[in-house]
Symmetry: C2
Subunit: 257 residues, 2 copies
Amino acid sequence: MSINRKPLILITNDDGISASGINQLIESVRPLGEIVAIAPDSARSGMSSAITAIHPLRLNLVKKEENLTVYSCTGTPVDCVKLGVNEVLRRKPDLLIAGINHGSNAAICVIYSGTIGATLEGCICGIPSIGVSLCDHSPDADFTQAAQYGRIVAEKVLTDGLPQGVCLNLNIPAGKEVQGLKVCSQTKGYWAKEFQLMQDPLGKTVYWLTGEFVNEEPDNEQSDEWALNHGYAALVPLQINLTAYRFLEKMRESYEL
Amino acid sequence: MSINRKPLILITNDDGISASGINQLIESVRPLGEIVAIAPDSARSGMSSAITAIHPLRLNLVKKEENLTVYSCTGTPVDCVKLGVNEVLRRKPDLLIAGINHGSNAAICVIYSGTIGATLEGCICGIPSIGVSLCDHSPDADFTQAAQYGRIVAEKVLTDGLPQGVCLNLNIPAGKEVQGLKVCSQTKGYWAKEFQLMQDPLGKTVYWLTGEFVNEEPDNEQSDEWALNHGYAALVPLQINLTAYRFLEKMRESYEL
Protein backbone atom coordinates (compact mmCIF):
# COMPACT_ATOMS: atom_id res chain seq x y z
CA MET A 1 0.00 0.00 0.00
CA SER A 2 1.31 3.43 -0.87
CA ILE A 3 2.25 5.61 2.07
CA ASN A 4 0.38 8.50 0.49
CA ARG A 5 -3.05 7.02 0.24
CA LYS A 6 -5.51 5.58 2.69
CA PRO A 7 -5.88 1.82 2.80
CA LEU A 8 -8.74 0.55 0.64
CA ILE A 9 -10.91 -1.84 2.67
CA LEU A 10 -13.54 -4.12 1.10
CA ILE A 11 -16.26 -5.23 3.49
CA THR A 12 -18.90 -7.90 2.95
CA ASN A 13 -20.97 -10.40 4.92
CA ASP A 14 -23.53 -13.16 4.54
CA ASP A 15 -26.32 -11.76 6.71
CA GLY A 16 -27.12 -9.04 4.18
CA ILE A 17 -26.39 -5.34 3.91
CA SER A 18 -29.03 -4.36 6.51
CA ALA A 19 -27.64 -6.59 9.25
CA SER A 20 -26.43 -4.97 12.44
CA GLY A 21 -23.10 -6.83 12.33
CA ILE A 22 -21.84 -5.40 9.05
CA ASN A 23 -22.92 -1.88 9.93
CA GLN A 24 -21.15 -1.98 13.28
CA LEU A 25 -18.07 -3.39 11.55
CA ILE A 26 -18.12 -0.49 9.07
CA GLU A 27 -18.31 2.07 11.88
CA SER A 28 -15.49 0.37 13.77
CA VAL A 29 -12.98 0.24 10.90
CA ARG A 30 -14.03 3.45 9.16
CA PRO A 31 -11.16 5.45 10.67
CA LEU A 32 -8.66 2.99 9.12
CA GLY A 33 -9.18 3.87 5.47
CA GLU A 34 -11.51 4.15 2.51
CA ILE A 35 -14.34 1.68 2.92
CA VAL A 36 -16.28 0.00 0.13
CA ALA A 37 -18.98 -2.38 1.34
CA ILE A 38 -20.62 -4.80 -1.09
CA ALA A 39 -23.00 -7.22 0.57
CA PRO A 40 -25.96 -9.42 -0.36
CA ASP A 41 -29.34 -7.66 -0.49
CA SER A 42 -30.71 -10.15 2.05
CA ALA A 43 -29.48 -13.04 4.21
CA ARG A 44 -27.22 -15.63 2.54
CA SER A 45 -26.18 -17.67 5.56
CA GLY A 46 -24.74 -21.11 4.93
CA MET A 47 -23.81 -20.23 1.34
CA SER A 48 -20.19 -21.37 1.76
CA SER A 49 -18.21 -20.40 -1.37
CA ALA A 50 -21.24 -20.70 -3.67
CA ILE A 51 -21.15 -18.68 -6.89
CA THR A 52 -24.00 -17.66 -9.19
CA ALA A 53 -23.54 -18.75 -12.79
CA ILE A 54 -27.08 -19.61 -13.87
CA HIS A 55 -28.34 -16.02 -14.04
CA PRO A 56 -26.72 -12.57 -14.04
CA LEU A 57 -26.19 -10.42 -10.96
CA ARG A 58 -27.31 -6.90 -10.12
CA LEU A 59 -25.39 -4.36 -8.10
CA ASN A 60 -27.18 -1.40 -6.47
CA LEU A 61 -25.55 1.67 -4.96
CA VAL A 62 -26.99 2.10 -1.45
CA LYS A 63 -25.03 5.12 -0.29
CA LYS A 64 -21.95 7.18 -1.01
CA GLU A 65 -20.30 9.36 1.62
CA GLU A 66 -16.74 10.55 2.10
CA ASN A 67 -14.57 7.42 2.30
CA LEU A 68 -17.59 5.13 2.44
CA THR A 69 -19.45 3.57 -0.48
CA VAL A 70 -22.07 0.87 0.06
CA TYR A 71 -23.57 -1.49 -2.53
CA SER A 72 -26.07 -4.30 -2.28
CA CYS A 73 -25.86 -7.26 -4.63
CA THR A 74 -28.31 -9.96 -5.66
CA GLY A 75 -25.69 -12.70 -5.37
CA THR A 76 -23.81 -14.72 -2.78
CA PRO A 77 -21.03 -13.43 -0.49
CA VAL A 78 -18.40 -14.75 -2.93
CA ASP A 79 -20.21 -13.05 -5.82
CA CYS A 80 -19.94 -9.79 -3.84
CA VAL A 81 -16.18 -10.17 -3.51
CA LYS A 82 -15.78 -11.08 -7.19
CA LEU A 83 -17.88 -8.08 -8.27
CA GLY A 84 -15.87 -5.81 -5.99
CA VAL A 85 -12.52 -6.97 -7.27
CA ASN A 86 -13.46 -7.25 -10.96
CA GLU A 87 -15.95 -4.44 -11.49
CA VAL A 88 -16.24 -1.96 -8.65
CA LEU A 89 -12.80 -1.23 -7.20
CA ARG A 90 -10.17 0.61 -9.21
CA ARG A 91 -7.34 -1.21 -7.44
CA LYS A 92 -6.85 -4.33 -5.34
CA PRO A 93 -8.01 -3.67 -1.76
CA ASP A 94 -5.44 -3.64 1.03
CA LEU A 95 -7.79 -5.60 3.26
CA LEU A 96 -11.03 -7.56 3.11
CA ILE A 97 -13.20 -8.06 6.18
CA ALA A 98 -16.30 -10.27 6.12
CA GLY A 99 -18.75 -9.92 8.99
CA ILE A 100 -19.46 -9.32 11.69
CA ASN A 101 -21.41 -12.54 11.35
CA HIS A 102 -24.43 -13.11 13.56
CA GLY A 103 -23.38 -16.50 14.94
CA SER A 104 -20.25 -18.59 15.43
CA ASN A 105 -18.10 -19.68 12.50
CA ALA A 106 -15.74 -21.76 14.59
CA ALA A 107 -14.80 -25.41 14.02
CA ILE A 108 -16.30 -27.14 10.96
CA CYS A 109 -18.61 -24.15 10.32
CA VAL A 110 -15.79 -22.73 8.19
CA ILE A 111 -16.89 -25.19 5.52
CA TYR A 112 -20.52 -24.00 5.39
CA SER A 113 -20.17 -20.31 6.23
CA GLY A 114 -20.81 -17.60 3.66
CA THR A 115 -18.72 -15.26 5.81
CA ILE A 116 -15.76 -17.61 5.51
CA GLY A 117 -16.58 -18.21 1.83
CA ALA A 118 -16.09 -14.48 1.26
CA THR A 119 -12.91 -14.52 3.35
CA LEU A 120 -11.41 -17.41 1.39
CA GLU A 121 -12.38 -15.60 -1.83
CA GLY A 122 -10.50 -12.49 -0.74
CA CYS A 123 -7.50 -14.73 -0.05
CA ILE A 124 -7.80 -16.36 -3.50
CA CYS A 125 -7.72 -12.83 -4.97
CA GLY A 126 -4.49 -12.09 -3.08
CA ILE A 127 -6.13 -9.73 -0.57
CA PRO A 128 -5.24 -10.03 3.14
CA SER A 129 -8.63 -11.22 4.44
CA ILE A 130 -10.36 -11.63 7.79
CA GLY A 131 -13.70 -13.19 8.67
CA VAL A 132 -15.20 -11.90 11.93
CA SER A 133 -18.05 -13.64 13.75
CA LEU A 134 -19.83 -13.15 17.07
CA CYS A 135 -21.15 -16.27 18.81
CA ASP A 136 -24.67 -14.84 19.04
CA HIS A 137 -27.31 -15.34 16.33
CA SER A 138 -29.70 -12.63 17.51
CA PRO A 139 -30.32 -9.72 15.13
CA ASP A 140 -29.74 -7.22 17.97
CA ALA A 141 -26.67 -8.89 19.50
CA ASP A 142 -24.10 -6.68 21.26
CA PHE A 143 -21.26 -6.35 18.75
CA THR A 144 -19.14 -3.97 20.84
CA GLN A 145 -16.33 -6.39 21.73
CA ALA A 146 -16.46 -8.15 18.35
CA ALA A 147 -16.00 -4.79 16.62
CA GLN A 148 -13.09 -3.92 18.94
CA TYR A 149 -11.29 -7.21 18.32
CA GLY A 150 -12.07 -7.03 14.61
CA ARG A 151 -10.44 -3.62 14.44
CA ILE A 152 -7.37 -4.73 16.40
CA VAL A 153 -6.80 -7.66 14.04
CA ALA A 154 -7.55 -5.48 10.99
CA GLU A 155 -4.91 -2.92 12.05
CA LYS A 156 -2.37 -5.70 12.59
CA VAL A 157 -3.07 -7.22 9.16
CA LEU A 158 -2.90 -3.81 7.45
CA THR A 159 0.55 -3.33 8.99
CA ASP A 160 2.03 -6.81 8.62
CA GLY A 161 0.07 -8.45 5.78
CA LEU A 162 -0.57 -12.18 5.76
CA PRO A 163 1.29 -15.11 4.18
CA GLN A 164 0.17 -15.91 0.63
CA GLY A 165 -2.77 -18.30 0.59
CA VAL A 166 -3.61 -17.74 4.27
CA CYS A 167 -6.54 -15.78 5.73
CA LEU A 168 -7.92 -15.35 9.23
CA ASN A 169 -11.06 -16.61 10.97
CA LEU A 170 -11.84 -14.55 14.09
CA ASN A 171 -14.64 -15.64 16.43
CA ILE A 172 -15.66 -13.67 19.50
CA PRO A 173 -17.57 -15.17 22.44
CA ALA A 174 -20.84 -13.50 23.43
CA GLY A 175 -22.36 -12.46 26.71
CA LYS A 176 -19.17 -12.05 28.72
CA GLU A 177 -16.04 -9.94 29.04
CA VAL A 178 -13.56 -11.25 26.45
CA GLN A 179 -10.42 -12.52 28.26
CA GLY A 180 -8.00 -11.91 25.39
CA LEU A 181 -7.18 -13.40 21.99
CA LYS A 182 -5.84 -16.89 21.31
CA VAL A 183 -4.41 -18.19 18.03
CA CYS A 184 -6.08 -21.57 17.53
CA SER A 185 -6.63 -24.53 15.24
CA GLN A 186 -9.98 -25.47 13.72
CA THR A 187 -11.72 -27.76 16.22
CA LYS A 188 -12.35 -31.29 14.97
CA GLY A 189 -16.07 -31.97 15.01
CA TYR A 190 -19.27 -32.32 13.03
CA TRP A 191 -22.98 -31.62 13.19
CA ALA A 192 -25.40 -34.42 14.18
CA LYS A 193 -29.19 -34.88 14.38
CA GLU A 194 -29.44 -32.46 11.53
CA PHE A 195 -33.09 -32.50 10.53
CA GLN A 196 -36.41 -31.77 12.11
CA LEU A 197 -39.16 -33.58 10.25
CA MET A 198 -42.37 -31.63 9.62
CA GLN A 199 -45.58 -32.05 7.66
CA ASP A 200 -46.46 -29.53 4.97
CA PRO A 201 -50.11 -28.33 4.79
CA LEU A 202 -50.88 -31.27 2.47
CA GLY A 203 -49.44 -33.77 4.94
CA LYS A 204 -46.21 -34.51 3.08
CA THR A 205 -42.97 -34.88 5.04
CA VAL A 206 -40.40 -32.10 4.72
CA TYR A 207 -36.96 -31.88 6.35
CA TRP A 208 -35.78 -28.70 8.05
CA LEU A 209 -32.07 -28.32 8.77
CA THR A 210 -31.11 -27.95 12.43
CA GLY A 211 -28.56 -29.99 14.40
CA GLU A 212 -26.16 -30.22 17.31
CA PHE A 213 -22.42 -29.65 17.07
CA VAL A 214 -20.35 -32.61 18.28
CA ASN A 215 -16.91 -31.53 19.51
CA GLU A 216 -14.47 -34.41 18.93
CA GLU A 217 -11.67 -32.78 20.91
CA PRO A 218 -13.27 -30.85 23.81
CA ASP A 219 -10.02 -30.92 25.83
CA ASN A 220 -7.76 -29.53 23.09
CA GLU A 221 -6.67 -26.20 24.54
CA GLN A 222 -5.33 -25.17 21.13
CA SER A 223 -8.75 -25.48 19.46
CA ASP A 224 -11.05 -22.57 18.68
CA GLU A 225 -14.03 -24.09 20.51
CA TRP A 226 -11.94 -24.42 23.68
CA ALA A 227 -10.87 -20.78 23.47
CA LEU A 228 -14.43 -19.56 22.91
CA ASN A 229 -15.79 -21.73 25.72
CA HIS A 230 -13.18 -20.20 28.05
CA GLY A 231 -13.97 -16.60 27.17
CA TYR A 232 -11.25 -15.92 24.60
CA ALA A 233 -11.55 -14.55 21.09
CA ALA A 234 -10.31 -17.32 18.75
CA LEU A 235 -8.17 -16.54 15.72
CA VAL A 236 -7.55 -19.40 13.26
CA PRO A 237 -5.32 -19.03 10.19
CA LEU A 238 -7.05 -20.81 7.28
CA GLN A 239 -5.54 -21.92 3.97
CA ILE A 240 -7.15 -22.07 0.53
CA ASN A 241 -5.02 -24.99 -0.61
CA LEU A 242 -6.88 -28.08 0.62
CA THR A 243 -4.20 -30.57 -0.44
CA ALA A 244 -3.48 -33.09 2.33
CA TYR A 245 0.26 -32.87 1.66
CA ARG A 246 1.31 -35.31 4.36
CA PHE A 247 -0.50 -38.15 2.59
CA LEU A 248 0.81 -37.42 -0.91
CA GLU A 249 3.80 -39.78 -0.79
CA LYS A 250 1.89 -42.66 0.75
CA MET A 251 -0.89 -42.21 -1.79
CA ARG A 252 1.58 -42.15 -4.67
CA GLU A 253 2.75 -45.61 -3.65
CA SER A 254 -0.70 -47.12 -3.61
CA TYR A 255 -2.73 -45.18 -6.20
CA GLU A 256 -0.49 -44.24 -9.13
CA LEU A 257 -1.18 -46.13 -12.35
CA MET B 1 -17.50 -53.05 6.71
CA SER B 2 -18.78 -56.49 7.57
CA ILE B 3 -17.51 -59.32 5.44
CA ASN B 4 -21.02 -60.67 5.13
CA ARG B 5 -22.75 -57.74 3.56
CA LYS B 6 -22.32 -55.72 0.42
CA PRO B 7 -20.72 -52.32 0.73
CA LEU B 8 -23.26 -49.51 1.00
CA ILE B 9 -22.37 -46.74 -1.47
CA LEU B 10 -23.94 -43.26 -1.36
CA ILE B 11 -23.83 -41.40 -4.67
CA THR B 12 -24.62 -37.75 -5.31
CA ASN B 13 -23.65 -34.93 -7.67
CA ASP B 14 -24.24 -31.25 -8.39
CA ASP B 15 -25.51 -31.50 -11.97
CA GLY B 16 -28.79 -33.04 -10.87
CA ILE B 17 -30.23 -36.55 -10.84
CA SER B 18 -30.94 -36.56 -14.59
CA ALA B 19 -27.37 -35.76 -15.63
CA SER B 20 -25.51 -38.26 -17.73
CA GLY B 21 -22.48 -38.22 -15.42
CA ILE B 22 -24.24 -39.53 -12.31
CA ASN B 23 -26.12 -42.18 -14.22
CA GLN B 24 -22.96 -43.50 -15.85
CA LEU B 25 -21.25 -43.48 -12.45
CA ILE B 26 -24.10 -45.52 -10.97
CA GLU B 27 -23.84 -48.12 -13.75
CA SER B 28 -20.07 -48.30 -13.35
CA VAL B 29 -19.99 -48.91 -9.59
CA ARG B 30 -23.22 -50.88 -9.33
CA PRO B 31 -21.41 -54.24 -9.22
CA LEU B 32 -19.47 -53.04 -6.13
CA GLY B 33 -22.34 -52.95 -3.65
CA GLU B 34 -25.73 -51.61 -2.67
CA ILE B 35 -26.18 -48.18 -4.23
CA VAL B 36 -28.28 -45.34 -2.84
CA ALA B 37 -28.22 -42.19 -4.99
CA ILE B 38 -29.56 -38.92 -3.59
CA ALA B 39 -29.02 -35.98 -5.89
CA PRO B 40 -30.46 -32.51 -6.50
CA ASP B 41 -33.61 -32.40 -8.64
CA SER B 42 -31.85 -30.01 -11.06
CA ALA B 43 -28.42 -28.47 -11.59
CA ARG B 44 -26.65 -27.03 -8.51
CA SER B 45 -23.25 -26.27 -10.00
CA GLY B 46 -21.01 -23.88 -8.09
CA MET B 47 -22.88 -24.49 -4.84
CA SER B 48 -19.72 -25.31 -2.89
CA SER B 49 -20.66 -26.57 0.61
CA ALA B 50 -23.85 -24.49 0.73
CA ILE B 51 -26.62 -25.73 3.03
CA THR B 52 -30.31 -24.87 3.06
CA ALA B 53 -31.56 -23.55 6.38
CA ILE B 54 -34.12 -20.93 5.33
CA HIS B 55 -36.77 -23.39 4.13
CA PRO B 56 -37.35 -27.15 4.51
CA LEU B 57 -36.25 -29.78 1.99
CA ARG B 58 -38.19 -32.41 0.09
CA LEU B 59 -36.98 -35.86 -0.82
CA ASN B 60 -38.64 -37.83 -3.63
CA LEU B 61 -38.16 -41.50 -4.41
CA VAL B 62 -37.29 -41.77 -8.12
CA LYS B 63 -36.75 -45.50 -8.41
CA LYS B 64 -36.12 -48.64 -6.39
CA GLU B 65 -34.54 -51.73 -7.91
CA GLU B 66 -32.48 -54.55 -6.42
CA ASN B 67 -29.43 -52.91 -4.81
CA LEU B 68 -30.25 -49.51 -6.30
CA THR B 69 -32.44 -46.80 -4.77
CA VAL B 70 -32.57 -43.31 -6.28
CA TYR B 71 -33.92 -40.14 -4.69
CA SER B 72 -34.08 -36.56 -5.86
CA CYS B 73 -33.89 -33.70 -3.39
CA THR B 74 -34.83 -30.03 -3.53
CA GLY B 75 -31.60 -28.96 -1.80
CA THR B 76 -27.90 -28.57 -2.46
CA PRO B 77 -25.36 -31.39 -2.88
CA VAL B 78 -24.40 -31.08 0.81
CA ASP B 79 -28.08 -31.21 1.79
CA CYS B 80 -28.32 -34.48 -0.18
CA VAL B 81 -25.45 -36.00 1.80
CA LYS B 82 -26.87 -34.80 5.11
CA LEU B 83 -30.33 -36.21 4.27
CA GLY B 84 -28.75 -39.49 3.23
CA VAL B 85 -26.72 -39.89 6.39
CA ASN B 86 -29.34 -38.58 8.84
CA GLU B 87 -32.64 -39.71 7.36
CA VAL B 88 -32.39 -42.21 4.50
CA LEU B 89 -29.62 -44.71 5.22
CA ARG B 90 -29.92 -47.22 8.03
CA ARG B 91 -26.14 -47.27 8.55
CA LYS B 92 -23.10 -45.19 7.69
CA PRO B 93 -22.14 -45.80 4.04
CA ASP B 94 -18.86 -47.54 3.30
CA LEU B 95 -18.18 -45.10 0.48
CA LEU B 96 -19.48 -41.83 -0.95
CA ILE B 97 -18.90 -40.87 -4.57
CA ALA B 98 -19.93 -37.47 -5.95
CA GLY B 99 -20.07 -37.08 -9.72
CA ILE B 100 -19.26 -37.72 -12.39
CA ASN B 101 -19.21 -33.95 -12.70
CA HIS B 102 -19.66 -32.38 -16.13
CA GLY B 103 -16.54 -30.19 -16.07
CA SER B 104 -13.19 -29.97 -14.29
CA ASN B 105 -12.94 -29.56 -10.53
CA ALA B 106 -9.18 -29.23 -10.50
CA ALA B 107 -7.11 -26.43 -8.90
CA ILE B 108 -9.07 -23.72 -7.02
CA CYS B 109 -12.39 -25.09 -8.35
CA VAL B 110 -12.42 -27.32 -5.25
CA ILE B 111 -13.53 -24.21 -3.33
CA TYR B 112 -16.58 -23.49 -5.53
CA SER B 113 -17.62 -26.98 -6.63
CA GLY B 114 -20.82 -28.58 -5.40
CA THR B 115 -19.31 -31.96 -6.28
CA ILE B 116 -16.41 -31.30 -3.94
CA GLY B 117 -18.79 -29.77 -1.37
CA ALA B 118 -20.58 -33.13 -1.25
CA THR B 119 -17.25 -34.98 -1.08
CA LEU B 120 -16.00 -32.85 1.83
CA GLU B 121 -19.37 -33.43 3.56
CA GLY B 122 -18.97 -37.19 3.24
CA CYS B 123 -15.54 -36.80 4.80
CA ILE B 124 -16.95 -34.69 7.65
CA CYS B 125 -19.44 -37.52 8.29
CA GLY B 126 -16.56 -40.00 8.52
CA ILE B 127 -17.33 -41.68 5.18
CA PRO B 128 -14.44 -42.46 2.79
CA SER B 129 -15.37 -40.05 -0.02
CA ILE B 130 -14.37 -39.41 -3.63
CA GLY B 131 -15.34 -36.62 -6.02
CA VAL B 132 -15.07 -37.58 -9.69
CA SER B 133 -15.07 -35.01 -12.51
CA LEU B 134 -14.57 -35.14 -16.27
CA CYS B 135 -12.94 -32.11 -17.92
CA ASP B 136 -15.82 -31.69 -20.37
CA HIS B 137 -18.88 -29.55 -19.66
CA SER B 138 -21.08 -30.94 -22.43
CA PRO B 139 -24.26 -32.75 -21.37
CA ASP B 140 -23.44 -35.66 -23.70
CA ALA B 141 -19.72 -35.96 -22.88
CA ASP B 142 -18.07 -39.39 -23.16
CA PHE B 143 -17.80 -40.61 -19.56
CA THR B 144 -16.31 -44.02 -20.39
CA GLN B 145 -12.77 -43.42 -19.10
CA ALA B 146 -13.99 -41.28 -16.18
CA ALA B 147 -16.29 -44.11 -15.09
CA GLN B 148 -13.42 -46.63 -15.40
CA TYR B 149 -11.02 -44.54 -13.31
CA GLY B 150 -13.77 -43.70 -10.83
CA ARG B 151 -14.42 -47.40 -10.31
CA ILE B 152 -10.72 -48.23 -9.93
CA VAL B 153 -10.31 -45.59 -7.22
CA ALA B 154 -13.61 -46.59 -5.58
CA GLU B 155 -12.47 -50.23 -5.32
CA LYS B 156 -9.15 -49.16 -3.83
CA VAL B 157 -10.87 -46.93 -1.25
CA LEU B 158 -13.36 -49.67 -0.35
CA THR B 159 -10.42 -52.00 0.34
CA ASP B 160 -7.99 -49.63 2.05
CA GLY B 161 -10.15 -46.81 3.47
CA LEU B 162 -8.80 -43.27 3.74
CA PRO B 163 -7.07 -41.39 6.56
CA GLN B 164 -9.48 -39.56 8.88
CA GLY B 165 -10.33 -36.08 7.61
CA VAL B 166 -9.02 -36.78 4.09
CA CYS B 167 -11.06 -37.33 0.91
CA LEU B 168 -10.16 -37.63 -2.77
CA ASN B 169 -10.63 -35.32 -5.76
CA LEU B 170 -10.32 -37.25 -9.03
CA ASN B 171 -10.31 -35.35 -12.34
CA ILE B 172 -10.15 -37.08 -15.72
CA PRO B 173 -8.99 -35.37 -18.92
CA ALA B 174 -11.38 -35.42 -21.88
CA GLY B 175 -11.00 -36.13 -25.56
CA LYS B 176 -7.91 -38.32 -25.38
CA GLU B 177 -6.68 -41.70 -24.19
CA VAL B 178 -5.88 -41.32 -20.47
CA GLN B 179 -2.17 -42.02 -19.88
CA GLY B 180 -2.50 -43.22 -16.30
CA LEU B 181 -3.22 -41.79 -12.86
CA LYS B 182 -1.07 -39.30 -10.96
CA VAL B 183 -1.39 -38.30 -7.30
CA CYS B 184 -1.17 -34.50 -7.30
CA SER B 185 -1.44 -31.32 -5.30
CA GLN B 186 -4.09 -28.64 -5.86
CA THR B 187 -2.69 -26.26 -8.49
CA LYS B 188 -2.14 -22.70 -7.26
CA GLY B 189 -4.26 -20.33 -9.33
CA TYR B 190 -7.37 -18.19 -9.54
CA TRP B 191 -10.06 -17.02 -11.95
CA ALA B 192 -9.76 -13.63 -13.67
CA LYS B 193 -11.92 -11.46 -15.96
CA GLU B 194 -14.88 -12.94 -14.21
CA PHE B 195 -17.87 -10.99 -15.51
CA GLN B 196 -19.48 -10.29 -18.80
CA LEU B 197 -21.54 -7.10 -18.61
CA MET B 198 -24.93 -7.15 -20.28
CA GLN B 199 -28.00 -4.93 -20.50
CA ASP B 200 -31.33 -6.25 -19.30
CA PRO B 201 -34.41 -5.50 -21.46
CA LEU B 202 -34.88 -2.22 -19.57
CA GLY B 203 -31.29 -1.16 -20.29
CA LYS B 204 -29.88 -1.75 -16.81
CA THR B 205 -26.43 -3.30 -16.42
CA VAL B 206 -26.24 -6.87 -15.16
CA TYR B 207 -23.14 -8.98 -14.49
CA TRP B 208 -22.88 -12.56 -15.71
CA LEU B 209 -20.19 -14.79 -14.20
CA THR B 210 -17.63 -16.18 -16.63
CA GLY B 211 -13.83 -15.98 -16.39
CA GLU B 212 -10.45 -17.42 -17.30
CA PHE B 213 -8.38 -19.65 -15.04
CA VAL B 214 -4.90 -18.28 -14.30
CA ASN B 215 -2.43 -21.06 -13.48
CA GLU B 216 0.22 -19.66 -11.12
CA GLU B 217 2.44 -22.72 -11.38
CA PRO B 218 2.13 -24.11 -14.94
CA ASP B 219 5.47 -25.94 -14.67
CA ASN B 220 4.72 -27.75 -11.40
CA GLU B 221 4.70 -31.39 -12.49
CA GLN B 222 3.13 -32.36 -9.15
CA SER B 223 0.05 -30.17 -9.74
CA ASP B 224 -3.31 -31.46 -10.91
CA GLU B 225 -3.50 -29.03 -13.86
CA TRP B 226 -0.12 -30.27 -15.13
CA ALA B 227 -1.28 -33.89 -14.95
CA LEU B 228 -4.56 -33.15 -16.76
CA ASN B 229 -2.79 -31.09 -19.44
CA HIS B 230 -0.45 -34.04 -20.04
CA GLY B 231 -3.20 -36.63 -20.39
CA TYR B 232 -3.20 -38.09 -16.87
CA ALA B 233 -6.08 -38.54 -14.47
CA ALA B 234 -5.28 -36.36 -11.43
CA LEU B 235 -6.00 -37.55 -7.90
CA VAL B 236 -5.64 -34.96 -5.10
CA PRO B 237 -6.12 -35.85 -1.42
CA LEU B 238 -8.09 -33.00 0.21
CA GLN B 239 -8.47 -32.20 3.90
CA ILE B 240 -11.47 -30.74 5.75
CA ASN B 241 -9.31 -29.05 8.38
CA LEU B 242 -8.35 -25.69 6.83
CA THR B 243 -5.99 -24.65 9.64
CA ALA B 244 -2.71 -23.28 8.25
CA TYR B 245 -0.72 -25.15 10.91
CA ARG B 246 2.70 -23.98 9.74
CA PHE B 247 1.81 -20.37 10.61
CA LEU B 248 0.33 -21.07 14.04
CA GLU B 249 3.49 -20.46 16.07
CA LYS B 250 4.49 -17.32 14.22
CA MET B 251 0.97 -15.96 14.55
CA ARG B 252 0.91 -16.72 18.27
CA GLU B 253 3.92 -14.47 18.73
CA SER B 254 2.38 -11.52 16.95
CA TYR B 255 -1.38 -11.79 17.52
CA GLU B 256 -2.03 -13.19 21.00
CA LEU B 257 -3.44 -10.70 23.48
